[in-house]
Symmetry: none
Subunit: 416 residues, 2 copies
């Protein structure tokens, strides 16, 4: 069965609201093994909704429509759909009673606009709304199912989880089970990953392998369809294995897990502590590490040394080294990493220094130039990078590269 989502509301076409309902429903349908082909947003406009719905009827078997079921004048969804299907509107008594009871408790009268909420097209199945007034509505038209849902996210979710999802189970493709896996990659450009995985990619393949570039690296999605969870799972596993063989250590996470979470787990497992000296990243690495609950077990401290004075006073970087090589140099980075390690008595010292831009770059030290240093019991190392993009991108990538350096070191430690 192919499905389609129509979301109704002016706020979606003015940019006031981000369409989280569409993402939520898409995810649900995916989990249920129902193939979603289109998603359309349209304003509170009867004529346009009619056009969009008529087209959906011609191409999809399951049509889920959210929004426009409320009491006000601009809520038009039920009336438009009833019009296209040539059905009368009738009062759904249990809904009417529920509204009346609720209003009586608040000593309020049943107004005409509230009565509207209890109206629905003839022949409807009703899905009770446990957290609001407007119920969900299922209409059957031949082989097709038309499902109307309220647009308030909490109400939508509540009805979907408790009633719609179990109802839709029966329409999942026969011999059809969808499983998805995410692999997260750092340290390779998208084009390189694309080349390495080219033979695994392509439109109608099973599993379907897709790439997305994000600020924190590349996300590889593997989606497999199979006759059973096991067979879909096996397809995923085989492809996952191939990808990991080809990309090696550059795959930093299996599943939608952040780099800081991976690093946190590795620090915990290996009982290592960390301290950080941040210049270009300005607190971002510490922020990311302390985003993770329980990070106080392995994160000791950070010094954000934006000024030279702070590098000299807090981190004991020799003034001559800054003078000779500049604050953005491998030498200063090395001093920052080794000093923060020894001052804090941490097992690992991490340091960053660079030029985030947009200004401050020179010919020899351009915007994006970044040094990342790691000091451990085995000594120190400094890597240098040239990140491209906005200040935000450069800083995010620098933080990610720093965390990745810690990750690679800890994998080595784990494997020893």
């Amino acid at each position: 069965m192919s499905a389609e989502i129509i979301t109704v509301g002016d706020e979606l076409l003015t940019g006031e609201a981000v369409n989280t309902n569409a993402a939520y429903l898409a995810k649900k349908l995916q989990e249920l093994g129902i193939d979603l082909c289109y998603q359309t947003s349209v304003g509170d406009d009867g004529l346009r909704l009619k056009k969009v719905f008529t087209q959906a009827l011609s191409r999809s078997s399951i049509i889920v429509i959210t929004g426009g079921l409320g009491p006000t004048k601009d809520d038009i969804t039920k009336e438009v759909i009833a019009g296209v299907l040539e059905r009368k509107m009738v009062v759904h008594k249990p809904t009417f009673m529920k509204i009346q009871n609720r209003l009586n408790k608040g000593r309020m009268n049943v107004t005409k606009s509230i009565q509207k909420v209890a109206l629905c097209p003839e022949g409807a199945e009703i899905l009770d709304n446990p957290v609001g007034t407007a119920p969900g509505i299922i209409l059957t038209e031949g082989e097709k199912k038309i499902i109307l849902m309220p647009g308030v996210p909490g109400e939508l979710k509540s009805i979907v989880e408790q009633q719609l999802a179990p109802y839709l189970m029966r329409f999942r493709e026969k011999n059809y089970m969808v499983k998805q896996q995410i692999l997260k990659v750092w340290g390779l450009p998208e084009s390189k990953v694309g080349d390495l995985l080219e033979d695994l990619m392509g439109e109608s393949r099973n599993p379907l392998v897709g790439l997305r570039t994000k600020t924190d690296g590349i996300e590889i999605s593997i989606i497999a369809k199979g006759g059973s969870p096991t067979s879909a799972g096996r397809l995923i596993e085989r492809t996952e294995q191939k990808i990991k063989e080809r990309l090696g250590d550059c795959v930093y996470a299996t599943g939608d897990v952040s780099m800081e979470k991976v690093v946190g787990m590795l620090l915990s497992i290996n009982k290592k502590t960390i301290a950080i000296a941040e210049s270009i990243t300005g607190g971002l690495i510490s922020k990311k590490i302390t985003d993770i609950p329980g990070s106080s077990q392995y994160f000791l401290e950070a010094v954000v040394s934006y000024s030279n004075d702070s590098k000299i006073r807090n981190l004991k970087v020799p003034q001559e080294v800054i003078k000779k090589h500049g604050a953005v140099s491998a030498q200063v980075c090395k001093a920052m990493a080794t000093e923060i390690k020894s001052l804090s008595s941490a097992d690992i010292g991490l340091a960053t220094t660079g030029i985030a831009g947009p200004s401050g770059g020179t010919r020899t030290k351009p915007v994006g130039l970044t040094f990342i240093g790691l000091a451990t019991e085995n000594g120190y190392m400094v890597e240098n990078y040239r990140f491209v993009g906005t200040r935000l991108t450069i800083r995010t990538r620098a933080a990610q590269a720093g965390l990745d350096m810690v990750r690679r070191y800890l994998i080595g430690v784990s494997n020893r």
Copy 2:
């Protein structure tokens, strides 16, 4: 001119990604006074994209398509659109040269997949991508404009702000001008703001006043329509004035400006420097301050003292004070603020300590309890808060409250 948006990508139909590009573009078109009628999402599927695009051509004058311009096999947008419009694909030389230059710097070869990024349908106008490789593309078909944009949000925004928005200005509706203003509020609950502004709100009013609660406070949106920029602007101004009178200093920004930007401007204007001692916020305040270009002029340093040892060693907090009152206390917060100020010789010392959760709370010191301290030439003050929500929310609110404390102090300084 009626417009329509098509967003392309499997991730939109599997629920992996929330469609923020659609919301962003919708907002831009609204600001430009261009009427957006439909928004459709479709997967990386050539046949379906072809159908959706063909229909869009039949009903809309401006079609903006995002996603699918990258180097990999599942990037199909350009090829499909060129097919429908019966245009050949040609190499756009400047884009090719740009990619080649960038790769040569990194000592990498131009692969076949990268060449694909430089291909575009014949007769295209090219919008340079300042932060990535795939450029924006404008195609003219009779009276219609077809606009292809990369799907990476940072790249999309960069091209839209610098090039597409000015280009689209000429298509705005005649005698129709929409102006929007944002006011940002910190320090009042939404219900209180709602009560204070009740008479200004309501569905079909002009200007339309709306409230949204976000982690960084409340956002008030004022949207006015008028026959000219001046008349719409006048409507906005009058309402903005009323709101500011009623909410006073709690309005921290006019326009979509972050608290850290406001604080940065106030520090610059007043020629003051700041240093920070962060415990509960774990680097977040420093990260926010250094997000702003030029922050090295006023931000000296931060110490993220997660461990007691770091509070004692780096911040000279007396061990007895920690022992007697605990690390999360007004006394420790005061010591952190005054010490970071004196150690760094900054004009302002800011400190945070608290319990971010999810674990670590007690009956007397529950999760969310936060102390924020400010040390200045006038002495020090400590405020205490009890934030509610997830670890993320608590940390974000603590950072926002800390920055706001600096803001309020600096407004006092400015007004002296």
